[in-house]
Amino acid sequence: MNIVVCVKYVPDATADRQFESDNTVDRVGVDGLLSELDEYAVEQALQLREKREGEDIEITALCVGPEKAVDAIRKALQMGADKGVHVVDDAIAGSDSVATSLVLAKAREKIGAEKKVDLVMTGMASTDASMSVIPAMLAERLELPQVTFASVVESQGEVFRVRRDGDTATEIVEGRLPMVLSVTDQTGEARYPSFKGIMAAKKKPLETWALSDIGVEADQVGLSASWTAVEGTEARPPRTQGEIVTDEDGSGATALVDFLASKKFI
């Protein structure tokens, strides 16, 4: 089985995030890492291989991002992925999810041209933009079925059976390869790389592709080709002290009701 796991390089959520003058996220000036939500996808791919011992399962980590994004691929390789593909091109900067999904789909086609890809895996969302739309867009572009937000993944042969936990119901969904599968943070904690994994990762194949390698024109991606644009960003204002109602003369309840009504809560 040939699995491609899409991994995103995101700014470290514990550090200060900055924006460029064009309102895109500064991905160069801040520390970045493999999106924690994508670590779950890598982990599930590795567990799949461990559960299906004896089968020939190859795992490729695919990343679209600036030079430094190679760190995200390296982490996946240290965890146990077999090879990495990094699509890096100045023209990609500023791409929204529509444009990014095009690059991912084309890269996945190039990987598939060498060896048929059975499964494309992703996390449930990115930790920076939190759009959650890439799996669906990828499925559409690749003309594959999509099974998303899996919290439990089981498989037998070509059939994958997953559990989707919603707010009001839990669904069991089955899909057949080839398909796109996104997994949630409920699938199980991702492993930490071992020293053996760290050493082995240095020798694993890692290819770097430009847009021209995957047949995408510069004007199909980037800020200008994006369907969405960020108009502005603002830091969340610090929490202000709430309104305090003091019940001195028995009018407290009325004051509370008036407050709730003014906010249209009642």
Binding site: Q78, R191, Y192, P193, S194, F195, K196, G197, I198, M199, K202
Partner: protein, 387 residues
């Protein structure tokens, strides 16, 4: 980037440091206070360390190891020691006292039997050297092992033995007097499976610190093991464990540097947040200079252990450098812990704060694996001073 991450090390060691730091922050730190308070052994944490391969760091893959080296172990110990010394000493003792003697001096059969479980962290080994009347002065060893047919019969007692009473302790390597030649007592090392009849693990000590580390006195009463459990040559037990202790000093130094660095990092954060008289306390030179000096201690102590570790890896003599590293690193940890608790003021006296735990934990660093005085004695000897 603070501490070890800014050291001049090959990239794979820095990657290991980053990985262990993430593990220490995300997994170890949240439960450190709980285990310290309840004096409980962190089985879950140790199991995860096993899965990460930390117990196998300096061993080759054929014995289940990670194919790394002693420097890799030191890197992991510093990053763990920064957050929780109990967890770090569990790893240090498990590797350098539990598994390393088997790897260094064991027969192929002994290695195959013990190492795969020890290097995977599924089992822990302990090293029974210290006795009520014998520590560094091994001549005082009273424990005996008498040959009876195909067996050794061991009698005696040991004390302060790390990792000797956990649910996953499988092996205790014991030093014992096996014979006397020309009136000289010959000490040998013998592998004793922990479940051998006659091995009594006595209740854990009530310690000042390292509360989540497992430490017990042990008593051996007519403990019988096969003669082939002899580890290394008969009568070479003393020479062998000197080598083990020399290496162990580098590892303890790394752990101590972690503690010293943890005190720096906690103090930098707190001095930037805590305000008094309208400004962060770190804006006062009395506080800032104290923290700057702490950083200098941690940094120089790190250089000392890295130097000793590099000599060890290069196969060069490292006894003196290991003694210096152990000496300055343990003092750096104790000094930094004292300074950090001062920076924290009243909170530094509250057990739930990491610096308070470092204050209690660091004292033993100046005592275990050879006291400060023993390191000074070794140094004086290396310098050729009379005595």
């Amino acid at each position: 980037m603070s501490g070890l991450l800014s050291a001049d090390l090959p990239e794979e060691y820095l990657e290991l440091a980053r990985t262990v730091r993430a593990f220490a922050t995300e997994v170890v730190a949240p439960v450190a206070h709980h285990h310290d308070q309840t004096h409980t052994f962190p089985y879950d944490v140790v199991a995860q360390m096993g899965e990460m391969g930390l117990f196998g760091l300096p061993f080759p893959e054929e014995y289940g190891g990670m194919g790394g080296d002693y420097l890799a172990l030191c890197v992991a110990l510093e990053e763990l020691g920064r957050v929780d010394q109990s967890v770090a000493i569990t790893l240090e003792a498990g590797v350098s006292l539990g598994a390393m003697p088997v790897y260094r001096f064991g027969t192929e059969e002994q290695k195959q039997r013990w190492l795969p479980d020890l290097t995977a962290g599924r089992a822990l080994g302990a090293f029974g050297l210290t006795e009520p009347g014998a520590g560094t002065d091994a001549g005082g060893t009273r424990t005996t092992a008498v040959r009876d047919g195909d067996e050794w019969v061991i009698n005696g007692s040991k004390q302060f033995i790390t990792n000797s009473g956990t649910d996953i302790t499988r092996l205790i390597t014991v030093t014992a007097v096996t014979s006397e030649l020309d009136g000289k007592r010959r000490i040998s090392s013998i592998l004793v499976p922990a479940d051998t009849p006659g091995v009594l693990v006595e209740p854990a000590y009530d310690k000042v610190g390292w509360n989540a580390s497992d430490t017990h006195p042990l008593t051996f009463t007519d403990v019988r093991v096969p003669v082939e459990n002899l580890l290394g040559e008969e009568g070479r037990g003393y020479a062998n464990f000197l080598r083990i202790l020399d290496e162990g000093r580098i590892a303890i130094a790394a752990l101590a540097v972690g503690a010293a660095q943890g005190c720096v990092d906690e103090s930098v954060r707190y001095a930037g947040e805590r305000e008094a008289f309208g400004r962060p306390i770190g804006a006062n030179q009395a506080v800032a200079f104290r923290i700057a000096r702490m950083e200098a201690r941690a940094h120089t102590a790190r250089l000392a252990y890295l130097d000793a570790a590099r000599l060890l890896l290069a196969g060069k003599p490292f006894k003196k450098q290991a003694a210096i590293a152990k000496l300055v690193a343990s003092e750096a940890a104790m000094d930094n812990a004292r300074d950090a608790t001062q920076v924290f003021g009243g909170y530094g006296f509250m057990n739930e704060f990491t610096v308070a735990r470092h204050y209690r934990d660091s004292k033993i660093l100046e005592v275990g694996e050879g006291t400060t005085e023993v390191q000074l004695m070794l140094l004086a000897r290396e310098l050729g001073l009379p005595g």
